[in-house]
């Protein structure tokens, strides 16, 4: 297992390298540069812009720029944002906690909802409750997350006034106090639900079907015959078997969260990594754009790796080597 993991991690390096080459070339092929449009006839002059371009090396050939960038990158120097004028690593460190908080909350909500609904539906298949949950699932799978987000803001923020429509926390609160954390949760809850909608629906579906299938298995019959209480059969015997395959989804969740965060953060104006990414594209803030793309690619690779490893852990029949 360890050997396999190490080999996979080593295998990620050429992949990341290739991705970096592609992205870098693509990014520089974008029309304009961070200075296009930066015109202020009285205060700046064409010479200033030309000088800054020269200073940032934007006039060098692409391979030279790439070489410089990758050398620094490998040494942990991600450069300085052309827009925020601060080191990219600081910038990301500033936003990262928000995105992680969003992702973790979303995962937690997903699992809680999926378990509650999946177990309920799996235990009482073909009842109205099951059909209701089934309907919700179909809906959850079909409605694009940004539409859900727009509806949520329209309904809960504007019409009902239940939730804040932007930001990650109320600034007036003292950092670290209980109110502060409550405010954070208050801000994150709706984006987190919207972000987790798709996974919630598919996990619920999966859990329900698996529970139904398992409940017909021999070990359940045996347990019933032994007189084990029905509650215990479902909550212990069946659940344990149904949860295991679910764990392997964790790796894919990382991928989903990466892509989902971009849209969700945009809709809710939630200041996280996704928003930073979108703004770096529009502003052609290459250092940020490149670092984030590399980070996303790395996370995707990592997610796939975790998924594969978990497969192996959960199902010993799958040989990894």
């Amino acid at each position: 297992m360890l050997k396999y993991t190490l080999r996979r991690i080593l295998g990620m390096i050429p992949m990341l390298f290739l991705i970096s080459v592609v992205v870098f070339t693509l990014a520089l092929a974008m029309p304009g540069d961070p200075f296009s449009g930066e015109i202020d006839p009285n205060n700046t002059d064409p010479e200033y812009i030309e000088e800054m371009r020269e200073k940032l090396g934007l006039n060098d050939p692409i391979h030279v720029q790439y070489g410089r960038w990758i050398t620094n990158f490998v040494q942990g120097d991600f450069g300085k944002s052309t827009r925020y004028k601060m080191p990219v690593s600081d910038l990301i460190a500033e936003r990262m906690p928000n995105t992680i908080f969003l992702g973790v909350t979303s995962l937690a909500i997903t699992y809680i909802l999926a378990f509650a609904m999946g177990m309920y539906a799996g235990r009482r298949p073909y009842t109205p409750g099951d059909h209701f949950i089934g309907g919700f699932n179909y809906f959850g799978l079909a409605i694009p997350s940004y539409i859900a987000g727009v509806f949520a803001i329209y309904l809960f923020s504007f019409q009902l006034g239940w939730i804040p429509f932007q930001g990650s926390v109320d600034i007036t609160l003292e950092k670290g106090t209980l109110d502060y954390w409550i405010s954070k949760i208050h801000h994150v809850i709706t984006p987190a639900i919207v972000l987790g909608l798709l996974s919630t629906a598919s996990y619920t579906q999966f859990l329900r079907n698996d529970i139904i299938e398992n409940s017909r298995k021999d070990f359940v019959r045996t347990a019933r015959a032994k007189g084990t209480p029905e509650r215990k059969i479902y909550n212990v015997h069946i659940l344990r078997n149904s949860v295991i395959p679910l764990i392997t989804f964790l790796g894919f969740d990382i991928v989903t969260l990466v892509n989902g965060a971009i849209i969700t953060e945009a809709i809710f104006t939630y200041p996280g990594i996704g928003q930073l990414f979108l703004s770096s594209v529009t502003n052609q803030d290459y250092p940020v754009l490149m670092t984030l793309t590399m980070m996303f690619s790395f996370l995707v690779l990592l997610g796939n790796l975790i998924a594969d490893i978990l497969y192996g852990v959960v199902d010993p029949r799958i040989r990894l080597d």
């Binding site: 449009g37 202020d40 006839p41 205060n43 827009r83 996704g274 594209v281 529009t282």
Partner: protein
């Protein structure tokens, strides 16, 4: 954006129209960035001189209530600040707005955009050497007293070779700045400290606009102590703990989200009345909701939201004159970037009657009502009406909507439909298609208003095609005279100094139309020539009026509109005043209720 304060020429193209960016995920309006170059001497204006140019609806709110103390004001901004909270380093208007709450400059501008003393007074004999006298006892937020050394520090920072902000142009006219920047001198020779409160600035030559061009924001020396210039823009005194001179001081910053400001007890010019100002980033899609729920007390809004704000029970719409104009330009030639001259002339739109016909074809009033909710008016010159050099419409052609006249002009110019396909051909009988370009930032309204313009031209028989171009690419193409760009939409913002040379002279890169008229160049030069105009604003204005008559007749561009600035102010706010130069000193603001 839009508001304010940008007393300089700023690229307003997108300015104003902050609708922006669906594209960018909300905040970060691409708009913001491109445009905002702007500003710099954005200054703080004191309430004392910026009274009521605002034709706002709620004058009474300030009269009926005595200024009260206490309360928290939520100050909304519709795009994310970059977090560069220092005059010398900021890049976008959002940041400038926030800085203006806690810092101010040596001079300020009145409602006629004339400089007025604020922290310092000045004297000059010859417009070359200025003596500034600082007020004594003015305190920085960290307790230091303001002296001329803080200003020298700011000037030397900006002139430093490692300085990475865009403000060097405001310092380079000082004698010796160039040498200092090139490392040939240890200090700027034109800066002469006389005592802690008196300083003499000598420029490299006498100009009529030396003062308005000068950098007048001191920087606190102790805060930046030990920080090399190259690292300043990312340092704490810029990003986390800015130290200013204004009535409020920064208490806490959550990057990209909000800023908390509290009163500064030792403020020199009155007593701040609010307990707190919270600056909050509000996505433009949430602006109206937030206003309605009373979650924000102030925010700049796009004109198209104006009618909604007017309907609200708890907020008022305040409008004040803006400093930007929008135009449809014609590429008349090609510019050579090296030799700085127009090297080639294009024929396609060279016929003045064609351009006039296209002008008469546009129903500007209706168009402005439709796309800017009427918060703007047609303009016939490349100078906003609020500016002191603006020529009166009675001296200009006004080009009212008159499709019949447009058709007649086209007929006379030889643009007639010879092959019966319903579209006019050019005088040689060849197919003639107007190619109109407009920038695209992902906002559907931009496309609609551009399309509406093409329809006006279609209606007079000129076949017109619309091309929406991604905004970054758009400006690059315009600047480089890409042949794909023929007729284009744009906007310019103007600042305190009225000089339009950078946008109109035939040797200027930003003269996008490549308009080449020696007479115009001469007038623009004369208006800056101290030997011709001396210190007389009247003389200077006369020359600019002459110039406006010429460009109003020549029409290298069709001047479309100037927009009003529109801001939403909660009914509970008192003491807020707006003028062409921006809002008044926040020290006057209070919560009435």
């Amino acid at each position: 954006m839009k508001n304010k304060k940008s007393l300089y020429w700023l690229l307003a193209m997108l300015l104003g129209l902050s609708l922006v960016v669906a594209a960018c995920g909300g905040d970060e309006a691409s708009d913001t960035d491109e445009t905002d170059n702007t500003t710099d001497n954005t200054e703080q204006n004191d309430s004392t001189d910026t009274n009521d140019t605002s034709n706002d609806s709620d004058e009474n709110q300030s009269d009926s209530n005595e200024p009260k103390k206490g309360g928290t004001m939520v100050f909304g901004v519709d795009s994310e600040p970059e977090g560069l909270f220092n005059w010398a380093f900021y890049g976008i208007v959002t940041d400038a707005d926030i800085i203006s709450l806690f810092d101010e400059g040596l001079i300020e501008y009145d409602e006629n955009l004339k400089p007025q003393p604020n922290l310092a007074t000045w004297e000059t004999e010859d417009n070359k050497t200025f003596t500034f006298k600082f007020k004594e006892g003015v305190k920085w937020h960290n307790g230091d007293e303001l002296t001329v050394h803080d200003w020298v520090f700011a000037l030397e920072t900006i002139a430093h070779p490692d300085y990475d902000g865009p403000r060097y142009a405001n310092v380079q006219t000082i004698e010796g700045a160039e040498a200092y920047r090139n490392g040939e001198a240890d200090s700027i020779s034109g800066v002469e400290v006389i005592d802690d409160y008196t300083i003499k600035i000598t420029f490299d030559k006498a100009r009529v606009n030396n003062l308005t061009n000068l950098w007048t924001y001191p920087m606190n020396r102790t805060a930046f102590e030990g920080i090399p210039v190259a690292e300043m823009s990312g340092s704490d005194p810029v990003r986390r703990n800015p130290v200013g001179l204004g009535p409020y001081k920064v208490e806490n910053i959550i990057p990209g989200e909000s800023v908390e400001l509290v009163p500064f007890e030792d403020y020199w010019n009155g007593e701040p009345k609010l307990d707190k100002i919270i600056v909050k980033v509000v996505d433009r899609s949430s602006v109206l909701g937030a206003l309605e729920n009373g979650e924000i007390d102030f925010i700049t809004v796009h004109p198209s939201m104006g009618p909604q704000v007017e309907k609200m029970n708890n907020a008022d719409l305040v409008t004040y004159p803006g400093l930007a104009y929008y135009y449809v330009g014609f590429k008349l030639g090609k510019f050579d970037n090296e030799s700085l001259e127009i090297v080639e002339k294009y024929d396609k739109y060279a016929n003045k009657n064609l351009r006039k016909a296209m002008y008469y074809a546009i129903d500007r009033e209706t168009w402005i009502d439709a796309f800017f909710s009427g918060y703007g008016k047609p303009v016939n010159r490349p100078v906003p009406s609020a500016h002191w050099i603006a020529a009166d419409d009675s001296e200009l052609n006004t080009y009212p909507y008159d499709p019949e006249k447009a058709k007649q002009l086209l007929d006379e110019a030889g643009y007639v439909d010879v092959n019966g396909d319903g579209w006019r051909e050019d005088p040689n009988g060849d197919e003639f298609v107007v190619k109109f370009s407009h920038y695209d930032v992902g906002d559907p309204q931009y496309e609609a208003r551009a399309k509406a313009l093409t329809q006006y031209w279609n209606d007079i028989g000129l076949k017109t095609e619309l091309d929406m171009v991604e905004v970054n690419l758009y400006y690059e193409m315009i600047e480089k005279d890409n042949p794909e760009i023929e007729v284009f939409y744009g906007g310019w913002g103007t600042g305190a100094d009225p000089d339009p040379s950078a946008l109109w002279k035939s040797d200027a890169l930003w003269n996008y139309t490549r308009y080449d008229n020696p007479e115009s160049d001469q007038l623009l030069d004369d208006a800056l020539d101290i030997d011709i105009v001396g210190t007389s604003d009247e003389k200077r204005k006369d020359l600019y009026v002459e110039w406006q008559k010429i460009v109003n007749e020549d029409l290298p561009m069709l001047y479309i509109t100037e927009l009003e600035e529109t801001v939403a102010v909660s009914k509970r706010m008192g003491g807020m005043e707006f003028a062409v130069s921006g809002w008044n000193n926040p020290v006057e603001w209070y919560i009435a209720e």
